[in-house]
Symmetry: C2
């Protein structure tokens, strides 16, 4: 067993194609986790994750800030304490709709964290 605070995990920028988004793997393959990975993301104001789909699910929990879960049928507001489910195959993105950093967990099956 191990414990780490998300703020102590070095953040990794998602790259120039995804500006304003930083990722931290809180629990993953390096911890020996066999089935799923818990990641933490920070999205800066007005920034967004890519609009895309994949054949694995997301389970999201909002830590701080305000955002939106955008899908094909519109968007759902997100605030601290909200849990969101995105099914496999659903197009989606998460974007910051507020003035503060939008901070959330996104749990995925291990193949979604390290796609082969």
């Amino acid at each position: 067993m191990n414990v780490k605070n998300w703020k102590d995990v070095p953040g990794v920028p998602m790259g120039k194609d995804v500006p304003g988004v930083t990722k931290r793997v809180l629990v993953g393959a390096d911890d020996g986790a066999p089935v799923f990975a818990m990641r933490h993301f920070e999205i800066q104001p007005a920034a967004t994750s890519p609009y895309h789909d994949h054949d694995w699910e997301h389970e999201v929990f909002v830590v701080a800030g305000e955002g939106e879960l955008v899908g094909e049928d519109g968007s759902l507001p997100l605030k601290a304490g909200d849990a969101a489910y995105v099914a496999p195959g659903e197009k989606h993105c998460l974007r910051n709709s507020g003035a503060e950093v939008f901070s959330f967990l996104c749990v995925v099956p291990m193949r979604g964290e390290a796609p082969k």
Copy 2:
């Protein structure tokens, strides 16, 4: 996709054998989630989850309060923003070591939420 705040999900007391512990399934089989389930727990001051083990992992994220992750080699303190990993087979419990409610997520493979 769907969104729900943890406070809007009715809490289920864990029963008389586990006093002071309330559970909410935030994302689970009823949402169509195929691989893992995101649950939320509240543990009252001085209360604890059962000390036990099972052959699936826990991935924990502390939302509020202070607690301890207790294992065979001692205990690790837990506070808001901490992520904890408990491997399959490790004996463990989570207990509230503070004066406020200890509130955390515990993600498990689906068979850990609804053991057959």
